[in-house]
Amino acid sequence: MMAIKRGSLYVVLILIALLLFFPIIYAFLVSFMSTKEVLMGHLIPKSFSLTNYIDAFQALPLLHSLINSMLVSIITTIGQIIVCSLAAYAFVFIEFRGRQFLFFLFVSTMMIPWEASIIPNFVTVQKLGWINHYAALTIPFFATAFGTFLLRQHFKTIPKELHEASRMAGLGHLSFFLKVVMPVSKTSLVTLGIYCFLTTWNSYLWPLLVTTDERSRTAQIGLRQLHAQENVTQWGVVMAGVVIVAIPTLLVLFLGQKHLQKGLMDGAVK
C-alpha cells in the first residue's frame, strides 16, 4: 500500500517536473537540429551533431561576451555583498538617531521600478564617462535595498548577547563584523550572492544601454544579436547559444545549494 502511494506520488512529481522543465529540454534538443528539422516541428534531433555550437561561436565573439558576463556578475556579486552587509550591519548593530526611519526610506526605494530610474542612471553613468566600461555595468548595482533588507533581517536574528560578549572581549565593530556576523550569516550571504549573480547574468536592458561596442558586451546581448542577424533565424544556433549561456547559471545554483545549509545559528544561545 505504502509502495503504491509512494510510486504514484513519484509519477505525479515526475510529470510536473517534465512539464516545467520542457522549454529547457526542448531548447537543448533544438540546439542539435538543423533549421529544416526545427521548422518541421521535430521533437528529437536525428543526430547529435555539434555543428550549431561551433556556428554559434563562429558567428559571434561568444566566448568574449561570456567572459564579460562572468566578470561583471562576479564583480557585482562581491560588491553587492560588501556594500549591503556593511549597510545592514549599521542598521542592526549601530544605534543612531533616525535609524528606523532611514531604514524604511531605504527599503521604500524597492517600490520604485528600476526602469523608472533608468534614464537618470544612464545620464549619470554617461557623465562619468563610464560607457563601455565595467564600472557602468557593476557599480550601480552595489547598493541595493533588497540585499540590505535581506541581510538586515538575518543580522537581526543574531542574539544581542553575541555582540555584547564580543564587546567585553574587546572586539571593535569591524572585527565583530568580520569574525562573527559574516561567518554566522553564511546562509543569507550565499542566498544573496546567488540571487545577485543570476540577476546580473540575466540582465539585458542596462548592458544594452551602457555598452556600444562588441568588446564590452555581455552574453545576453550577444544572444539577442544571434537571433536577428539573418533573415531566417537559425533556431538551432540560437538554442546552442542559449544552452551555453545557461550553463554557468546552473553551475552557480548547484554549487550554491550545497552551502544553503540551515541551522547555522543553532547552539548560540540556550
Binding site: E164, A165, A169, S175, G263, G267, K270
Partner: protein, 375 residues
C-alpha cells in the same frame, strides 16, 4: 579593598520614564561572592550590565579597583561575563569559543593553550574541544561559557542567571562548581539570580533588590534571620514566611492575632498598635508537654504536601494562608483539626505602615547546638 564600588548609582531610560535603578550604594569587596537577587524586572540585570559597561550609568559613580570607571569601555574594565543564554559563537568550536577573547587580547599561543587545557580539565570539557555549540547539551554549553570566563583570568566576573536554563539536578551540581572555581581563583564574583536557593547557598553576601531599590544587604543567614522588611521576609525562604496583622497591647504585653490566639511577648520599645507579624514555617511546632513558652492553638488543615523528608500543610489564620513545615511524614487529610504550638520568641514584627522590621526573632539555639557537635 573594595573592588567594585557603586555610589548613588541610578538608571533611567530617556529622561521622563521612572527610574529603573535608584540611588544605589554598594561596595563589593575583592574576592567576594556577591549575589544580587530580586524578582524579575527589579533591575538586577540592568545593574549587572551597567557594571559590565553594556549600559550607560545615568547618575552616580562606578568605581572599579578604586578608579572611576563610568566611561570605560567594556573591554577596558577587564571583566568577564557569563550570559544567561551563554552567548557562544555558533560558527566556532568549543576550543575557539573558549580562547576567542584571549586571541583578541593578543595572549601568546602557549599561554592560551595552557589556560584552555586547565579550564577544560576543571570543567570536564576536554572531550568536546572540537565540537560546535549546537552539538552540545545545555549543561555542556553552560560549562563552555564558564570556561570562557575562567580563561580570561579577569579579576571580576559577572554572571547573569547562568543556571536558569539547566534542570534542577545539574543546577545543584553547578552551584557547587561555580563556588569552588570562584574560591580557587579568588575572583570577585557578582552573580545575578532570581532563585533564592542560589542566593542563600552561594553568596558571601547578598543584596536584595526590588523596584530598583536596595531592600537589604548582608550575609544570607543574617538576612534570613533578620529580614529588614516584609518584602525581604517573604522573598527569602521557601516556603515563604507566614505573615498577618496583629495587635500589640503594651500594657498586657500581648500580641493578639485573633480572639483565640494571643501570645505573650515583651517588646519594650514598641507602643500599643497594630503590627505585621511574621513567622517562618519551620517555627510552627508540634506541641510539647510542659513547655511554658508555647502557645497552643487549634487549626483546620486545608492542604497537605508530603515531601518525604518534610511535610508541608496549610491552614487559615485570619485572612491569610499559613504554611507549616514539620519534619518527617505526617499523613494529615484536608479538614483534619490539629494542635500547633507557636513561640513568641520566634516572631518577627514589622511596622504596619513602613513595613520595616521593628523586632526580629531572638532564637539562637542553633548556635548552641552547633557548639555541641563541633569537634
Amino acid at each position: 579593598m573594595s573592588e567594585v564600588e557603586l555610589l548613588n548609582v541610578s538608571k533611567l531610560y530617556g529622561n521622563k520614564q521612572p527610574y529603573i535603578i535608584k540611588n544605589l550604594d554598594v561596595n563589593i569587596e575583592s574576592g567576594e561572592f556577591f549575589v544580587i537577587v530580586g524578582p524579575s524586572g527589579c533591575g538586577k540585570s540592568t545593574l549587572l550590565r551597567m557594571i559590565a559597561g553594556l549600559e550607560n550609568i545615568s547618575e552616580g559613580v562606578l568605581r572599579i579597583g578604586g578608579e572611576m570607571a563610568n566611561h570605560w569601555s567594556p573591554s577596558q574594565r577587564d571583566i568577564s561575563m557569563v550570559f544567561q543564554n551563554y552567548a557562544l559563537y555558533p560558527h566556532l568550536n568549543v576550543r575557539e569559543n573558549i580562547v576567542f577573547g584571549l586571541r583578541v587580547k593578543k595572549i601568546s599561543p602557549e599561554e592560551r593553550e595552557k589556560r584552555l587545557l586547565e579550564a577544560c580539565e576543571m570543567l570536564n570539557l576536554t572531550a568536546y574541544l572540537n565540537r560546535k555549540p549546537r552539538e552540545l547539551s545545555g549543561g555542556q554549553r553552560q560549562r563552555v561559557a564558564l570556561a570562557r570566563a575562567i580563561v580570561s583570568q579577569s579579576p571580576i566576573c559577572l554572571m547573569d542567571e547562568p543556571l536558569s536554563n539547566l534542570d534542577a539536578k545539574l543546577r545543584a551540581h553547578m552551584r557547587g562548581e561555580i563556588r569552588k572555581i570562584q574560591r580557587q581563583f579568588g575572583t570577585t564574583m557578582i552573580y545575578v539570580t532570581h532563585d533564592q536557593v542560589e542566593a542563600m547557598t552561594m553568596g558571601d553576601r547578598m543584596m536584595i533588590l526590588n523596584q530598583g531599590k536596595i531592600q537589604q544587604i548582608g550575609r544570607p543567614i543574617d538576612i534570613y534571620n533578620h529580614p529588614a522588611n516584609t518584602f525581604v521576609a517573604s522573598f527569602i525562604g521557601s516556603p515563604q514566611m507566614n505573615m498577618c496583622e496583629a495587635y500589640y497591647d503594651g500594657n498586657s504585653q500581648e500580641i493578639r492575632i485573633n480572639k483565640d490566639l494571643k501570645l505573650t511577648m515583651t517588646l519594650p520599645k514598641l507602643k500599643t498598635s497594630t503590627y505585621i507579624i511574621g513567622l517562618r514555617p519551620e517555627y510552627i511546632h508540634i506541641p510539647q508537654p510542659n513547655n511554658p513558652n508555647q502557645t497552643i492553638v487549634q487549626v483546620e488543615i486545608n492542604h497537605v504536601e508530603l515531601l518525604g523528608n518534610d511535610t508541608l500543610f496549610s491552614f487559615q489564620i485570619n485572612d491569610q494562608q499559613w504554611i507549616a513545615k514539620w519534619n518527617g511524614q505526617w499523613l494529615f487529610e484536608p479538614g483534619d483539626k490539629i494542635s500547633i504550638a507557636l513561640d513568641a520568641d520566634e516572631l518577627c514584627v514589622f511596622d504596619k505602615d513602613t513595613r520595616q522590621l521593628v523586632h526580629s526573632s531572638t532564637r539562637q539555639d542553633h548556635d548552641e547546638l552547633q557548639k555541641g557537635v563541633l569537634a
